[in-house]
């Protein structure tokens, strides 16, 4: 799993490539924690997680998202899941995480 983090005008953007599974969930969690922290420090109310390049996310990754959401909620920051590919759209539906998170069709990030 690779990730990049960018602070832009509208939000803190996190882009994740590869798989979030038993081997990479802790690194993913660290990335989310960093994003929430940076959003708090820079005064951004939103963290956008770009799911377009993910192969898949296992329940570990989904649960790490929940941990990050709780941290974000305490800081009045919203986590948005953006551009899920077909696999991620299915996983979000199967897990019912589409009921827990705001999901958008685009990241809104500057290229």
């Amino acid at each position: 799993m690779e990730y990049s983090l960018a602070v832009q005008d509208d939000a803190v953007h996190v882009r994740v490539d590869g798989r979030v599974d038993e081997a990479t969930w802790e690194a993913f969690g660290a990335a989310l924690g960093e994003a929430v922290e940076r959003a708090g420090k820079s005064g951004h109310p939103t963290v956008v997680i770009d799911l377009s390049e993910l192969d898949y996310m296992s329940s570990r990754g989904l649960r790490v998202l929940t941990v990050a959401k709780r941290q974000a909620d305490e800081a009045s920051i919203t986590i948005v899941l953006a551009s899920p590919n077909e696999v991620m759209s299915e996983i979000l539906a199967i897990s019912r995480y589409d009921k827990l998170f705001t999901i958008t069709g685009s990241t809104g990030a500057r290229q």
């Binding site: 599974d21 038993e22 296992s58 649960r63 929940t66 897990s95 019912r96 827990l100």
Partner: protein, 320 residues
């Protein structure tokens, strides 16, 4: 080893209503269209081949009770939910044919839905039966005696005539019970629960892990469960809630989700996962949907050998 499911529901026994049955029949008749059947056998074949499981059958409503038929003489049974009554009656038939009257029970825990069948367990009245109740809990006997006190049940525990023994097991130890290697693991549930690993003389391994919550804060501890499930031929797992429910409104309710069960089994390279401890408010269509989604999730996240995902129902038999 033959695994036979006598009760697969969690929390509370349930039963279909007249409305539910009528609706199934009506839909089946519509599916049959203009087909004519010469006899019941032909109609049953149509139901089996052409209708979905939810449409032509039912997952049942008895609470947790799973038998492991091991070719060693004695009975092995996990939990004493309401499904125990049917098992008990069936065992009387087998005893009459010469089966050993030794019953080895393995309790996941002592909540009502997992012990409610024992007052109706007919062999407990047989003075020639031996009943060994294995549990990680030191208070298993107290729990069973209490539910048969007069305020709750008209037949006191002391009236039972079988030789009833209570055996406390310790996680981390391997026990030999009538030729079967048995291990137990502590699980996260109110008043604790315990999972079991059974390995027979042929090396076939079945896991029984129900009423076990895998919490967000303790994901690193799941490594212990992956090792406990390692290379198992069958893993019977609590899959009561969606992942979202398990981390939100049902958090701390002591149960797990289908996605966590699939992931643990993938990591353990287990061969087959049986979804278990179905939510009592789920209709058959809900359970079937959960099963289909679990199969799809396994396909999407598979990164090694395929895991066979089946859905337990009252009456299911699985040979491993």
């Amino acid at each position: 080893m033959l695994v036979r499911f006598w009760g697969t529901r969690g929390s509370l026994p349930v039963a279909p209503t007249a409305t539910t049955i009528r609706r199934k029949l009506a839909r089946a008749l519509v599916s049959a269209g203009s087909l004519q059947f010469d006899n019941v056998a032909e109609a049953e074949l149509f139901v089996e081949k052409e209708l979905s499981f939810a449409g032509g059958a039912t997952y049942g409503g008895a609470t947790s009770c799973v038998e492991m038929e091991i070719a060693n003489g004695s009975y092995f049974v996990c939990d004493m939910g309401s499904g125990l009554r049917s098992f008990g009656l069936d065992s009387l038939r087998r005893n009459a044919a010469g089966h050993s009257k030794t019953y080895n029970f393995f309790q996941s825990h002592l909540h009502w839905d997992h012990i409610m069948g024992f007052p109706f367990f007919a062999p407990a009245f047989d003075p020639s039966a031996t009943i060994r109740i294995h549990s990680g809990h030191p208070d298993a006997e107290e729990a069973l005696r209490r539910q048969q006190e007069e305020i709750s049940f008209p037949v006191p525990f002391n009236w039972l005539r079988a030789d009833i023994q209570f055996v406390q097991l310790t996680p981390g130890e391997t026990y030999e019970v009538d030729g079967v290697a048995v291990e137990t693991i502590l699980q996260n549930h109110s008043h604790d629960s315990y999972g079991y690993r059974f390995t027979d003389v042929d090396g076939k391994t079945a896991i029984y892990s129900t009423d076990s919550e895998h919490k967000l804060e303790n994901m690193a501890e799941e490594a212990a469960f992956i090792e406990f499930f390692r290379n198992a031929d069958l893993v019977i797992c609590d899959t009561m809630y969606s992942l979202a429910d398990s981390v939100s409104m049902k958090e701390d309710w002591g149960h797990s989700s289908n996605l966590v069960a699939v992931d643990l089994c993938h990591a353990a390279e287990a061969k087959c996962l049986a979804l278990f401890h179905h939510e009592p408010t789920y209709e058959d269509e809900d359970i079937q949907r959960m099963h289909e989604e679990s199969i799809r999730y396994e396909e999407l996240t598979r990164n090694g050998p395929a895991l066979d995902v089946i859905c337990s129902y009252d009456g299911l038999e699985v040979r491993i």
